[in-house]
């Protein structure tokens, strides 16, 4: 039981990093960023490229590369499309996702590659009779720090306050002098940084890389956001932990015949939630977008 709980917390932290990265952009510019998954893929392959360097250095470089990729996406694809409908933005992100996937395929090939970034994190510690993986502890701890950092940024810095204002009413925020470009670029930067950290943890957990590795995480991120509520930042994080708890519990307690259908059940659940609460469990309708 406690083991499951730790597992759910660790998985939920991973989902939360991903979901927050997506929710941040959605709340500010109404973008459902499918290409967020490819930021994770870029992170994974960057980590592979820097394999052999000290872990901290490799992680720092990975964060830098992924943030740069996110900013490039914003500058080249999303900025020209700003003001377009949500559907157009979504399709733009699909195009980017295909593009990056194709690029990785071209460069690295389709075969799965394995990378061991764990090092000493692979070990586990004994706490009161329970074996807890050091990796789980690291994931939970680092995510906690990042979430607190984000909350602080949004509360206590002028740019953070501007981002919250832009999330509520982008047009009015601009009318007050808030620079749209800067707010959106910052959001992409934060989103990229979260994706990079998520990539590190994901690769540490699974140890494998494929060009399409970003798909499942991004879908789970969407699910978490819908569970929590579209357009609400912290609801997305809560949705992520609930989703992780649900899937760990389903995994543990679902009869074996049904276990294979777990994902189908989760996604059907999403549909039911959307049918009854089109803006998510705790969501609210979106305001005017620029």
């Amino acid at each position: 039981m406690a083991q499951n709980l730790i597992n759910a917390l660790s998985l939920g932290s991973l989902y939360a990093l991903i979901a927050l990265g997506i929710a941040l952009l959605f709340s500010i510019m109404g973008l459902i960023n499918f290409a967020h998954g490819e930021l994770i893929t870029i992170g994974g392959y960057t980590l592979l490229a820097f394999h052999g360097l000290p872990l901290a250095v490799a992680v720092a470089l990975t964060v830098a590369v992924v943030v740069a990729a996110a900013l490039t996406m914003e500058r080249l694809a999303f900025r020209p499309a700003r003001g377009a409908s949500g559907e157009t933005l979504l399709m733009t992100s699909f195009a980017l996702s295909l593009l990056v996937q194709g690029g990785v395929l071209l460069k690295e090939g389709a075969d799965p590659q394995s990378v061991n970034v764990l090092g000493s994190l692979g070990a586990s510690v004994d706490v009161g009779g329970m074996t807890i993986g050091k990796l789980d502890v690291a994931i939970i701890g680092v995510t906690g720090v990042l979430l607190i950092g984000l909350a602080w940024f949004l509360r206590a810095t002028p740019l953070g306050v501007q981002m919250r204002a832009a999330a509520e009413d982008f047009t009015m925020a601009r009318a007050l002098g808030v620079r749209a470009d800067r707010v959106v670029a910052t959001a992409f930067g934060v989103s990229g940084a979260f994706a990079a950290v998520a990539a590190v943890f994901l690769v540490a957990r699974t140890g494998t890389l494929t060009p399409s590795m970003g798909l499942t995480p991004v879908l789970l991120g969407f699910v978490a956001i819908v569970l929590g509520g579209l357009g609400r930042l912290w609801a997305a994080a809560i949705g992520a932990y609930v989703l992780a708890l649900l899937s760990v519990m389903l995994q543990a307690y679902l009869p074996t015949g049904l276990a294979a259908y777990r994902d189908a059940l989760v996604y059907l659940g999403i549909i039911v939630i959307l049918l009854f609460r089109p803006h998510g469990i705790a969501g609210r309708p979106q305001g005017v977008r620029v």
Binding site: G86, T88, M91, L98, P278
Partner: protein, 359 residues
């Protein structure tokens, strides 16, 4: 009365021209090599799927990632109807006896497949009735994924992730062509019908249309079931094109390919669906050849998997950024021929909702 006649003539021009285009290209392909003919057959299948998707997405303006669900239903049901009973018994021992004994030809099986897809769409209709915009997009994505999981695990019927083999892979340009033409005619008939007209009015301005008495939900449902029927038939053709089916064949990838074709061609016109299918099919085939490598006269290329995807993605990206209306930009083929009559309410409505955009 006269107006109605003019609208009909104006409305059928795009279908006639699209059909002509398809006929010419198919004719040319029949002269080509076996690979070319196969590519053309695949293009025709994608044409049916795209036209089917267009009937709903193009007319309603609601984005759907879920139409591949109908394709999947059509594909698997056709396979189960047209495979050799002996083979079915060997591959799928748990299948009910009457399905095992069923042995139809493709032409007989396709309408049944279409009807099954239509039934499934009726079950899905609450989605389009209640949801709009982003929520509809996400819900249809979720639907697609859950159906894909089910297909991947329902060993008794779909043989799970191993997939079904031994479907008669007998689709040719000649046997596929009539179905695409039929799909185009059906799409056109819907488009010029009163229901299609009302739905397009709601696409342009849902609130205004509702205030004029258009029951958006009802019109959307009508479009959905017709569109599912066509997609189901497209799925059946697809099964006969592939000869084998795995869950991966009817996944997000196929959805994206169909949407890519629709967007590049122009999401808001039937001609756009047809032109997009042709354009992307030809481009993809060329890219596949480059990707596979080999000798092209003076240049020899090493195989480069990924090129096709990169170029198609760039095509989509540039379309969205530079020509959001796609190649046809919302116009129908032949609109110049009938400009006077087709500058009708629809164009006027498009102008009404050209919403102002903050600087």
């Amino acid at each position: 009365m006269r107006n109605r006649a003019i609208t009909l003539v104006a409305g059928s021009a795009p279908a006639a021209l699209s059909t002509l285009l398809v006929l010419v290209i198919s004719g040319l392909a029949m002269l080509g090599s076996e690979t070319t003919q196969r590519t053309a057959a695949q293009m025709l299948v994608m044409g049916v799927i795209c036209v089917g998707t267009y009937i709903f997405v193009g007319n309603s303006g609601v984005l759907s990632f879920g139409h591949v669900v109908f394709v999947a239903v059509g594909a698997y049901s056709t396979a189960l109807m047209t495979m050799e009973p002996g083979l079915k018994r060997a591959l799928l021992p748990d299948l009910p006896g009457w399905i095992v004994d069923l042995h139809l030809g493709m032409a007989a099986a396709l309408p049944v497949a279409g009807l099954l897809a239509l039934l499934v769409s009726v079950l899905c209709s609450p989605l389009v009735l209640r949801l709009d915009g982003m929520a509809a997009g996400i819900a249809s994505l979720a639907l697609l994924i859950s159906v894909n999981v089910v297909i991947g695990n329902w060993d008794q019927v779909t043989r799970g992730s191993q997939g079904i083999v031994g479907i008669p892979a007998d689709l040719t340009v000649g046997t596929a062509l009539p179905w695409l033409i039929g799909a185009i005619v059906l799409a056109l008939a819907y488009q010029v019908s009163a229901s299609g007209f009302r739905l397009r009015a709601s696409r342009e301005d849902a609130v205004a249309a509702a205030s004029l008495g258009v029951r958006v939900g009802r019109e959307r449902t009508i479009a959905l079931v017709i569109s599912a029927f066509v997609c189901g038939i497209g799925g059946g053709l697809y099964a006969h094109f592939l000869g084998a089916l795995t869950p991966g064949d009817v996944s997000l990838k196929l959805t994206l390919l169909a949407l890519l074709m629709l967007i590049v061609g122009g999401l808001r016109s039937l001609s756009g669906a047809v032109i997009g299918t042709i354009f992307i099919s030809v481009l993809a085939e060329l890219l596949r050849r480059v990707e596979a490598g080999g000798d092209f006269g003076p240049i020899a290329l090493a195989p480069h998997p990924g090129i096709e995807q990169v170029v198609l993605a760039l095509t989509l990206l540039f379309t969205l950024l530079l020509r959001p209306g796609g190649i046809t930009s919302g116009r129908e083929l032949g609109h110049r021929l009938v400009r006077r009559s087709s500058r009708d309410v629809e164009t006027a409505r498009t102008e009404i909702v050209a919403a102002p955009e903050p600087g």
